[in-house]
């Protein structure tokens, strides 16, 4: 039943979806990191009017499945076309590609902000006090002392999040985007050979994530040479 020739036939077809998978993952990880950083920093001031909305946003996006979020942003907001048209946002929500980017970005932004918030809090207080004592203002203390340390510490946890996002892109196939998983499902409906197709698709994600983990491990090693043995 398992036929090596069949793998050679389907793998190139699956790889045709890889650029879209990478594009979705890359764009949402980058935008999501920006969002996460803003959200984490905005919570440093501990002002309720800033913190409370962020806590609610994070609770919603961490507490609901990504699949539901993608569905709601695409099919849910699709029902409010007149309202979206009147505020000039329909061009964005009309396209499945942008709906997927928005859902993935908001999701990873919520998770990422928690990772960064924890990392910032874990930077020893003495360091920022020392920086303040040297005459740095709060902004420069954050930028020059706290953030570099925090981002370095956050890297292992954040690499986890990046991998989750790469796998999360597979859900984009439900809103008509034919990335790797979407093509896999198409191939299954043409060949009815679910096992081989999903093994091949799984292997593509495995190799992709292996490369990402290697890259991030190298980056981590570069950033923390003192930990090398």
């Amino acid at each position: 039943m398992i036929d090596p020739g069949f793998f050679l036939e389907i793998i190139p077809k699956l790889l045709a979806g890889l650029p879209l998978t990478l594009e979705l993952a890359g764009t949402s990880v980058l935008l999501g990191f920006g969002l996460a950083l803003v959200l984490a920093l905005a919570q440093q001031g501990e002002r309720t009017y800033a913190v409370l909305p962020i806590r609610i946003f994070v609770a919603i996006f961490r507490g609901t499945p990504l699949l539901v979020q993608i569905f709601l942003i695409y099919y849910g907001l699709g029902q409010f076309r007149p309202a979206l048209q009147s505020v000039g946002l329909w061009w964005l929500f009309r396209e499945p590609y942008w709906c997927a980017i928005i859902a993935l970005t908001l999701n990873t932004g919520a998770y990422g902000s928690e990772i960064l918030r924890g990392a910032i809090r874990n930077v020893p207080r003495g360091l920022s006090e020392a920086a303040l004592a040297l005459g740095l203002n709060r902004f420069r203390t954050m930028r020059l002392v706290v953030l570099p340390l925090a981002l370095r510490q956050a890297l292992p946890a954040y690499s986890n999040e990046i991998i989750l996002m790469v796998k999360g892109t597979s859900l984009a196939s439900i809103i008509t985007l034919t990335e790797v998983t979407g093509i896999a499902q198409e191939l299954i409906s043409q060949t009815y050979r679910a096992i081989e197709v999903f093994i091949a698709a799984g292997a593509i994600y495995l190799i992709l994530n292996f490369l990402i983990v290697r890259g991030l491990t190298l980056l981590e090693a570069r950033l923390t040479p003192y930990r090398q043995r």
């Binding site: 398992i2 099919y75 699709g78 029902q79 076309r81 008509t176 499902q185 299954i188 009815y192």
Partner: protein
């Protein structure tokens, strides 16, 4: 774990995966029928959460004729044929057309319905102004169907057309309209209906009876079925019940029951109730 033991485990798995399924040699007493449950009015989940529709009523009728106990379950369209072949259920009745490609993997009963496919578009669009046509083109009749397709092409140029993936409707679009329209694939027809209402797609391509059921809803008041219907060719021989190739006895039972349901007018009655037209196959 040593490599040898690992290899042994892997080998066991491979055997399990490729183990031939016990084929039912005798006539079964009890079977499980799978449908999609998302293709109104053929098969869908009604307001009470129960499966309902033309094929559900027909399945119950056929089971009563065959004097066997049937359980009807819902399964994603994508997973119907793979699940049938691995034995999750015994029969597919999900408005599935009998095509040569599907016949490579599974077997079918004789058709119990023949239903043309066509486009649904906004009434004020180029194609919509044509309005609904009772014309039916057999794709085997190449000259006539090609002329009909060429007439549609300029009216659909550059439009986005929603279609369910893994269907013969998609095969049709890819074969005849790939150079004219942008094809967008959906998991269920309910999802492309939502996107037609939202204006993300300009047209739908599906079975005309299913489109008629969608367009009967109030939010589709400005939409219409337009142009002729297409049958045959990539659409195959019509809608049949899918079975595993080894279940010969079950296939004979179904064929006899379908013959009887055609002969006594049951299929005509059920189809007029659900799709307001007679889809009984002409022998």
């Amino acid at each position: 774990m040593t490599f040898r033991r690992l290899a042994a485990v892997a080998a066991t798995f491979m055997t399990l995966l490729s183990a031939p399924l016990a084929g039912a040699a005798d006539a079964p007493k009890e079977i499980k029928i799978a449908t999609e449950g998302a293709y109104a009015p053929w098969n869908f989940t009604n307001a009470e959460g129960k499966l309902d529709g033309l094929e559900i009523e027909l399945a119950n009728d056929l089971c009563a004729r065959m004097k066997i106990k049937c359980t009807i379950v819902a399964q994603n369209w994508d997973g119907l044929i793979p699940s049938l072949t691995v034995g999750k259920f015994d029969v597919i009745m999900a408005s599935m057309f009998i095509t040569p490609k599907r016949l490579e993997t599974i077997d079918f009963t004789q058709p119990y319905a023949v239903d043309p496919s066509g486009f649904a578009v906004a009434k004020n669009s180029d194609l919509g102004k044509l309005g609904i046509s009772k014309e039916k083109f057999k794709l085997e009749d190449e000259a006539a169907s090609k002329a009909a397709i060429e007439k549609l092409k300029p009216l659909l140029k550059g439009k986005v057309v929603g279609v369910q993936s893994g269907t013969t409707n998609l095969d049709f679009l890819k074969k005849y309209f790939a150079d004219t329209v942008e094809i967008r694939e959906y998991k269920t027809t309910e999802q492309h209906d939502l996107d037609l209402a939202a204006g993300r797609v300009d047209a739908l391509f599906a079975q005309q009876t299913a489109l008629a059921a969608t367009l009967a809803k109030p939010e589709f008041a400005d939409y219409t079925i337009a142009g002729p219907g297409f049958v045959g060719g990539v659409f195959g021989l019509g809608t049949g019940a899918g079975l595993r190739k080894e279940d010969k006895a079950l296939k004979d039972m179904f064929n006899k029951a379908i013959d009887a349901a055609i002969a006594d007018g049951t299929i005509k009655r059920i189809s007029e109730k659900w799709v307001h037209t007679d889809v009984t196959p002409v022998k």
